[in-house]
Subunit: 198 residues, 2 copies
């Protein structure tokens, strides 16, 4: 039988992950703007993983546009754009797979430096696609400044958050966007008829 201390730790971790999903779910039912949803989920993810950076890219036509960050990036939000062939982020969107690198992410052959983001020098990188109705609609990246071995809970947690964010982004997109509302990006999300597999 496992030791009580190990059981307690495992219980604590499981409860933390459960609370993350409950909080994300509570956010999903509110009538929030696109930007409010992004900010809310980024805060929850940072609290859960204690990462140093959380960036969210949203697919606009064939480009991934930086739309949210946990720290101020006044010159980068809405400006940093990646093609699907570029960087670790592009790879995640293209391959639709989770990516976890525990150290020296900047040495990965797929890595692309922007020069303008401090995150370019961070060691650890965890990234998951945002998915809605079987389509990639963005990417969420978590970075640790120092090397960090990602746990199974972190990988499972960010996968589920990516799925939830995909759905909630499409829903928030359905809300009317008033001109001058500060919405920085027009999204190419599937708002029209979506072909349904038979």
């Amino acid at each position: 039988m496992p030791k009580p201390r190990d059981l307690e730790l495992r219980l604590q971790k499981t409860e933390e992950q459960l609370r993350l999903f409950q909080k994300v779910s509570r956010l999903m039912v509110r009538e929030l703007s696109f930007q409010e949803v992004l900010k809310g989920i980024v805060s929850l993810v940072v609290e859960f993983t204690q990462c140093d950076s959380c960036l969210v890219y949203v697919l606009e036509n064939d480009e991934l546009v930086l739309c949210a960050a946990n720290t101020p990036h006044p010159t980068a939000i809405g400006k940093v754009r990646l093609r699907l062939t570029e960087g670790l982020t592009g790879w995640v969107a293209r391959e639709r797979r989770l990516l976890a690198i525990s150290r020296e992410a900047y040495k990965d052959s797929r890595f692309k430096s922007f020069g303008e983001l401090p995150e370019d020098k961070f060691e650890a990188f965890l990234s998951a696609p945002l998915i809605a109705r079987n389509r990639v609609v963005g990417v969420i990246n978590l970075q640790h400044r120092l090397p960090h071995q990602h746990t199974g809970d972190e990988m499972e947690g960010i996968t589920t958050v990516g799925e939830q964010m995909g759905c909630v982004l499409v829903l928030a997109r359905m809300a009317s966007v008033a001109p001058g509302s500060g919405e920085p990006v027009e999204l190419a999300l599937p708002t029209g008829p979506v072909p349904v597999k038979q």
Copy 2:
């Protein structure tokens, strides 16, 4: 310190709830029809709660229409309709609150019998609103044939499932509905511009 056996039980329950949300989330990203989503979530909820009946009502104009059930209800699906002033289900939609009755649900003053549903004689009743973008879009009911004291996990679980189902129903609704596709109900979900609170 809690006993190892108690910790193990608590861990098991927490992991079950976590797996429920992960499975619901996996369903949400697939490109499923409205009916497939309903069926999938009903199966997961029955597996999680071991209830005898799970019925899902979806709001169509001002009526709640029975749209899914875990057991065959060939004459009732799409036919059983409730006003928001009727029954326990109407109360949950109107008040937007969880309702848990552990025994003799049929004696509750809000109860409405349909005659055609065997569930009318079931003892225990747990019901939660389906919510999307701050609007009730339906109700999910779990019933046990015998008296059943609902646990906190069950109540929390069904609340979150109701939130998730609300979002996924609106998304599935966005998919084009081909004429004669077997979609039984035209939904009055908020597909147009939704006013955003300032």
